[in-house]
């Protein structure tokens, strides 16, 4: 199905309900779908499980969702930062659950969900605190941990350009988690600078095929 072209960020996230699991793209500010996160803040959905590399920074975006206690659980690799004060406070108060995952396992678990893989043995984390309680196995003399897919209800991601079929291209290191998150969510909601007609993206250079994209909103951009 060609994606729905939403009229605004608010319109794009309107279906996100309480209790949803939401993948949020971005690494630092690059690829962070700021307008979609703000719209998620506005729409009022709560009791969310959020998957992101970090746990919010300063007084914006994901950090505000956490400040307002809308996130019951976060799955991420790097929550603690110099400006992660809202997460730090919620965590210390026992008001947010943290599942800490090594970054590569996080990425591979998201990919596994999109690729229909039931679980995989990864060497990352073997012998560490983050493998505690997980199944492990030694294969050809090397230790591995069994990791499971991270499926989600929604993905909020940022790309550079979409065509009307939902095909996406990204920009530089803003690509990061976008392509795999689009595959792992029941509904992928994408903010882009611009939507172009199908046929205007070179099929060789499409990074996310439109099959993964459900909703697109064009927000302009200064690039």
């Amino acid at each position: 199905m060609a994606p729905r072209i939403a009229s605004s960020a608010a319109d794009a996230v309107a279906e996100i309900k309480d209790g949803s699991t939401v993948l949020i793209g971005g690494f630092g500010n690059a690829g962070q779908p700021m307008e979609l996160i703000d719209a998620l803040m506005e729409c009022g959905a709560t009791d969310l499980t959020v998957v992101n590399n970090n746990a919010g920074q300063a007084d914006a975006g994901l950090a505000l969702l956490i400040k307002e206690r809308r996130v019951k659980k976060i799955i991420c690799s790097f929550p603690r930062q110099s400006d992660s004060w809202h997460f730090d406070e919620a965590y210390r108060a026992g008001e947010i659950e943290l599942e800490l995952v090594p970054q590569g396992n996080l990425a591979e678990r998201i990919r596994a969900a999109g690729a229909g893989i039931g679980g995989f043995f990864t060497p990352t984390g073997y012998g560490t605190l983050l493998a505690e309680g997980k199944e492990t196995r030694v294969i050809d003399g090397k230790g591995y941990v069994l990791e499971t897919p991270i499926n989600a209800d929604f993905a909020l991601i940022k790309a550079l350009t979409a065509d009307t079929m939902g095909n996406l291209v990204y920009r530089k290191t803003a690509r990061n988690f976008g392509p795999i998150m689009a595959t792992a969510a029941k509904q992928a909601i994408v903010q882009v600078d611009e939507v172009v007609e199908a046929g205007n993206l070179d099929p060789e250079n499409v990074i996310t095929p439109g099959i993964y994209v459900d909703t697109v909103v064009a927000l302009g951009g200064n690039k």
Partner: protein
């Protein structure tokens, strides 16, 4: 209220393909297996806006290529030269099968040797002595799509039903088939029952007499 219908004549191969095509939801992402299912693409309308996937790494596959459009780098799963439509995309084999296995295709249409009443599919290997097995993407396709539909003749050359209680041929995928299009009937497998949606050139009673599984009018 019954949805069951019947016609006097058996369906031709084109009519079967037409029925399948008409049942594909508009906007669907679809993989058509090699052989008879490929014919379905001839009956899809532009208005349906269906996007075709080919396992060898493409979405937005267009019709078979002819003349100057033939390009040996642009082929379908049957290794036939095809064309690309606006909005197409290319990807590598792991990504292509991730798309399949991850449940992103809406419908996959396959041929079959046998289908069981539980929706088990056999279509890759006769199991015959000395036969060289080959599987290709059959097992991935069978279990990957949201819906797997089968097109086949209902009876073997010796008159045995290919819709069976339990497979006698080697399994391709378990419990994956939800619809079967044959020249004499269209079946829907759901709620642990086999519904007959329509019969063609055969009465429901005669159909039931030739098929060992219990049938229910849809």
């Amino acid at each position: 209220m019954s949805n069951y219908s019947s016609t006097q004549e058996k369906l031709s191969r084109d009519e079967m393909a037409q029925k399948v095509a008409a049942d594909i939801p508009s906007g669907a992402f679809v993989n058509l297996g090699i052989g008879q299912p490929t014919n379905v693409s001839n009956f899809l309308t532009n208005e349906q806006g269906v996007t075709l996937h080919t396992e060898n790494g493409m979405l937005g596959m267009g019709p078979v290529a002819t003349g100057e459009d033939i390009d040996e780098d642009l082929i379908n799963a049957g290794k036939i030269p095809v064309t690309e439509l606006p909005g197409a995309s290319f990807f590598h084999h792991a990504d292509s099968f991730a798309m399949m296995r991850g449940g992103h295709l809406d419908v996959c249409v396959l041929g079959a040797f046998q289908v069981s009443e539980a929706g088990d599919l056999a279509n890759w290997h006769t199991g015959a002595e000395g036969a060289i097995p080959a599987v290709g993407g059959a097992m991935d396709l069978a279990i990957g799509a949201k819906q797997t539909w089968v097109m086949m003749s209902l009876f073997t050359k010796t008159g045995e039903s290919k819709l069976v209680e339990a497979l006698s041929y080697p399994v391709t995928g378990l419990g994956c088939v939800s619809r079967i299009y044959t020249e004499v009937a269209i079946f829907e497998l759901r709620d642990s029952k086999v519904f007959v949606r329509s019969a063609h050139g055969i009465s429901f009673e005669e159909l039931q007499s030739k098929v060992s599984v219990e049938l229910t009018k849809a």
